[in-house]
Amino acid sequence: MLHFFSDIFQYQFILNAFLAALLVSIAAGIVGSYIVARRLVFLSGGITHASFGGIGIAYYLGFNPILGAAIFAVITAFGIESLSSKYNVREDSAIGIMWSVGMAIGIFFVFLTPGYAPNLMSFLFGSILTVTKQDVFLLLGLDLAMIIFFILFYYPILYLAFDANYARTQRVPEKVFSYILMAFVTVTIVLSIRLVGIILLISLLTVPPTIANLFTKKFKYLIYSSILIGFVGTITGLMVSHGLNVPSGTTIILALIFMFLIARLIRLIMDKVISIKQLSKN
């Protein structure tokens, strides 16, 4: 496993994977904190899984699967929005529908494609072999855009998420913000697919903020610590994946879950200590 660091400089693909992990942690930390705070996890899960439809079609027609995923992710995000607002379908039902329809389309086209689909497993469970230089640059662009947006508009983002009705009375353009944020969520999901895969992606977004939430109740710190936790988790996962030749999505998620268990234990001990202190004071 320790070859990992010496291999970074020897093999381009490992360097790519390392950089992608670093950059994905930033995007996932920001987006993850946002979707956890706003309870958009199920929606994000739906977008993630439905994007498989685009991957299937891309296989069949022979174009870049990530592009296919991106198109489907956007269609899904808008589809859920219009199903629930215009056609009066309850939102979670709309998500459930889009989720499985996307998967169904994907599998349909994968089976229609003649021959063997070589990289299919890597789209489902992630693979460090498939990360390209282009992915790294795309992620870098996404991170920069998102960091700037969140620094400039941190307060309207926070206050819209907390109480949109009140923010509206304060003349915050709610629609514009929610579309931009939804776009960030969608792009982050699509660009994380190579590293962690569709099936496991949602944990990359939700586990770091869940761990951070054990120790902080402030949105800002939630974002910072999620990025850090995500980074430790993805790098550990990559090392294990490289050493044992297991899909990177699997090892990253397991590393994150392991961190969650440790964090839970630390929290438990902290609570005990604090309550003993308080009791002895009285």
Binding site: F162, Y166, V172, K217
Partner: protein
């Protein structure tokens, strides 16, 4: 002293249902209007119209701003649908009241934080400033949202049943505070407690599908009946006598 807003024959409602019909209503600086009326009469709808959350189906609402970007209102909603697990501190919630004044790229200064702290102190909850909002009791939360409504020092303070959840002692202090604030801002307050309304407000608006404006804080049962405003007069210390006085 100038006008803040003016309704001219406004009708409004939801989907195909008309809730308020042909409302004429003007509020001036330093007014203190008590809004009364039965459940479902349209009080909250009236406030949402003022705030621009819903648009009139007919008629016009005109605002008289001193400058085009002025945020006129501080608002305490009747029902605050918040997520109790949301990661936000009490202090941040209070500061969110300044959002309109600051604009979407605004930054908060030490001065803003001191303002917030002063308000929290007035509401006797300064020790809770770093707590997550979801960890507060109902009455404590109501006080935080009052701070949020007040911090921008609005020209018009809109309160939808501010006395829900809070204890008697705080309710009394709240009305004293409102008296003081009224020297500097107009206030519109919805309440079901006619006793408190008549002792603290200057004028009364009876809302029951229509709006009847009563330019005094004394109102008789006969007048209430004439306004088609069947609200109960609750016995409340010596207050009911003034309520029942003819004037």
């Amino acid at each position: 002293m100038g006008k803040i807003f003016e309704f001219t024959s406004v009708s409004a409602g939801y989907d195909d249902e008309i809730v308020l019909k042909d409302v004429n209503f003007t509020v001036w600086d330093n007014d203190f209007v008590g809004v009364i009326g039965p459940n479902g009469g349209g009080k909250t709808t009236l406030l949402k119209l003022i705030l621009g959350e819903i648009k009139p189906k007919r008629g016009t609402i005109k605002y008289f701003k001193h400058e085009p970007n002025e945020v006129l209102f501080g608002y305490l909603p009747q029902v605050i649908g918040i997520d109790k697990k949301f990661p936000i501190s009490v202090m941040e919630v209070v500061l969110s009241g300044l959002l309109g004044r600051k604009g979407i790229m605004g930054r908060y200064t030490g001065h803003d934080k001191r303002l917030a702290l002063n308000l929290l102190q007035r509401m006797e909850i300064q020790h809770l400033k770093d707590k997550a909002i979801g960890e507060l009791s109902g009455g404590q939360m109501q006080r935080v949202f009052l701070c949020r409504a007040l911090i921008s020092h609005p020209r018009l303070l809109i309160l939808d049943e501010p006395n829900t959840f809070v204890d008697n002692k705080f309710e009394k202090e709240l009305y004293e505070l409102l008296q003081e604030l009224n020297k500097e801002m107009a206030i519109i307050m919805v309440s079901h407690d006619l006793g408190t309304i008549t002792t603290h407000v200057k004028t009364i608006a009876c809302v029951n599908r229509q709006l009847h404006y009563h330019p005094s804080n004394l109102i008789t049962t006969d007048q209430l009946a004439a306004y088609d405003c069947p609200i109960q007069i609750i016995a409340h210390g010596p207050v009911p006598h003034t309520v029942l006085h003819k004037h």
